[in-house]
């Protein structure tokens, strides 16, 4: 089951993470304007996925562990969603 969890595999993940870092830095230098932040965050989520799946062993963990790893983010999503529901309906700079 964990046979493919080798140092070589982890080294590939590490190189991929450094590649993503280089990409996000280079893209920010280009000045993407409005889509700059969404692109940077998409790359951050890709890095999070690699770290969680390979370094934190979720790829080799049970389905219940996937659930455990997700709960914090579910509550965080509710926190952000409810707060923005307030701000986005206040008018002013938020409703533009």
């Amino acid at each position: 089951m964990k046979a493919d969890r080798t140092i070589k595999r982890l080294a590939f993940v590490w190189l991929a993470l450094l590649g993503l870092l280089l990409a996000t830095w280079a893209l920010s230098r280009l000045g993407l304007g409005r889509i700059g932040l969404p692109v940077a965050l998409a790359i951050a989520f890709a890095k999070l996925f690699l770290i969680a799946a390979y370094f934190m062993e979720l790829k080799w963990s049970s389905k219940s562990m996937w659930l455990m790893s997700g709960v914090g983010f579910v509550w965080l999503a509710i926190l952000i969603e409810l707060t923005l529901t307030d701000y986005l309906t206040r008018g002013g700079s938020w409703s533009q």
Partner: protein, 210 residues
Amino acid sequence: MRELSAPLAEQFEDTQQQEAAVHTGIWVFIATEVMFFGGLFLAYIVYRTTYSHAFTEAARHSNVLIGTVNTAILLTSSFTVAAAVLQAKVAKPKSVAMLLAFTSVLGLAFLALKGLEYSQHISDHLLPGGSFQRGKSGPFQMFWWLYFVMTGLHALHVIIGLGIIAWQFAGALGGRAWANENSITATALYWHFVDAIWVFLYPLFYLIQR
């Protein structure tokens, strides 16, 4: 008994169940940490959306070179600590100790660069408070308030992580029962979480619309 193997506590049926309990426990802890940092991320989202112009202007003063190098350092330290877990599972305490030592050196390098960065910002009068740069708007200062609080809280987590890693390093080297594959796995999971938080701090404070 095999070196670095965790003794089976009586409440568990087998070692697999015990290992799953270690992962579950740390993931529950991480969920509380996600909420802990989450409040600050929420503050960032709200203020950045309200004052996006001031935030973009304020972010021009951050040191993107140190930020990028520090990201690479933390990603590398995550790799070395993940490798330490692999070595613990095949009972190689010397390799584990060496990899944990590497991880500590990288963590210390991160903190040294962070300290250098802080001292630059403080001498540039970017630390919120009475000596903050004159003529800057409130939202401009708010960016720096969030910068110092969020990276400071993260640095505190790095310091705590270094303490735990040093403790596990000493245990692995001395062949102590409290440094085993499960405790090293738990240490590594925490360290990866600290790394993952930085992965999000990096674009928010260093990369916005340069």
